[in-house]
């Protein structure tokens, strides 16, 4: 990475991750297919009663998005850790938190954005009303970046461990719970015709909080993991 200025380094990192993802399409497709499959399993498992599906649909879609995001988190730092680039990020003269933000943004574009785009389809599969699907889209738009940001802290803590996958879930899922509660609550309210501004404001607040603090926590965690 021979770039002099920080914005160039940032764009180089984002472009590199996007190009790598396009060349390994499985990295984009696998979490997406997992999301669709898990959401489809529920009507098969709990019976296709439309009222029941509308009642639990928002929660199912959000939990599936959470799990898909969790599974895809490993790819944020894994390949860089394995080939040594991660240490180069830490050794470079650029602030690590900005480089980490670039990686997280690229990760969201690769994994979160496809989930977001497919969610209206899944809403229709579960028979959600159109207001609920709109609010579902907005909650995922605001919420999937939060999943990537909070997940990045967990991944940074466990990247050096051999069996980091299981423990990553244990660390990151409790931090995801408030987001899940607000997002599912928002879509439930929308399905019932109630106002959703409170829920959406809280999710937006979580996004701003994660966006401002998570890069620093992730950078500190990376330093610890690579020490």
């Amino acid at each position: 990475m021979n770039t002099d200025s920080l914005p160039r380094a940032f764009m180089v990192l984002v472009r590199r991750d996007l190009v790598l993802a396009i060349r390994h399409r499985a990295e984009i497709a696998n979490p997406l297919l997992f999301f669709i499959l898990v959401t489809s399993l529920f009507p098969l498992g709990i019976g296709a009663n439309p009222k029941l599906l509308v009642a639990v649909g928002p929660g199912i879609i959000w939990v599936a998005a959470l799990l898909a995001s969790l599974l895809s988190l490993d790819s944020v730092f894994r390949s860089d850790f394995d080939d040594g680039s991660l240490e180069q990020y830490l050794l470079s003269s650029h602030p690590v938190s900005v480089l980490v933000l670039a990686k997280i943004i690229a990760h969201w574009l690769i994994t979160g954005l496809p989930l977001l785009l497919v969610s209206p389809l899944l809403g229709i599969l579960l028979g959600l009303p159109s207001e609920a699907i709109q609010v579902l889209f907005i909650t995922l738009l605001l919420g999937t970046p939060v999943l990537s940001l909070i997940g990045a802290v967990g991944v940074a803590l466990t990247v050096g461990l051999r069996k980091g996958g299981m423990i990553l879930s244990l660390l990151v899922l409790p931090l995801y719970i408030p987001l899940l509660i607000f997002a599912a609550g928002a879509v439930d309210s929308a399905a019932a015709g109630l106002p959703v501004t409170a829920h959406l404001s809280l999710i937006a607040a979580l996004l701003v909080l994660a966006l401002s603090l998570s890069p620093f926590a992730t950078a500190a965690a990376l330093r610890v993991s690579l020490s």
Binding site: K163, I167, L170, L171, I177, L209, A221, V224, S225
Partner: protein, 257 residues
Amino acid sequence: MLEQGYNRSLYAVMFNNFFHRLASPKHFYRIAGAWIPWLAGACLLLFLAGLYYGLVVAPPDYQQGDSYRIMFIHVPAAWMSLFIYMVMAGAGAIGLIWRIKLAEVIAISSAPVGASFTFLALVTGSIWGKPMWGTWWVWDARLTSELILLFLYIGVIALHSAIEERRTAARAVAILALVGVINIPIIHFSVEWWNTLHQGPTVTRLDKPAIHLSMLIPLLLMALAFKLYYAFVVLMRARCEVLARERSAGWVRELVE
């Protein structure tokens, strides 16, 4: 040290020396060993006093009768779960910023104790809830956020045991604990911000306590007893952790022989 303290009073120098010694594992081991019996004794006395005042002297509640008395375990346990998390996060931050070994030791020694108190608070709350609310569990804001606190403690313990090198593990755990600190004000204010089944704050608020003195006194006695319990248990655990960390040091070998 005394040269530096030349312009300061003797007391300031003694104070400084005490804290410098306390931060050294070898002296901490000795000093903590001396304090533990006293803390345990005081804790026992406070437990006996608190339980006597709470179970025998305090009057039955006009609404709940005698079954409210589990409050004398439930509320102090819940207070301890929050307090210990803040101590763990604070000690973790000190270990992260100033690299003081003993801060790391205290942080990791506190985690299982905090998890136990959180579990105790949840279980005693459930037991209280069944006759009072008619249900063992309800997913309201306070109970859910306390459950998240339990998961955070378990995550800290799991992460620490997953990383082999102790100092790296301590620093990783400090970061995790600091990320989870956001949950503490959520737990405390959950009964004000949301419509919850759990009752609102009666003691830890700016107004005067909404509880009668005859019940407040045993509650505070039990809270103090739990704090002393935490103090001597964390010192015992910290001594073990210090021995494990410093096992190759000379003073440990002397102790073993």
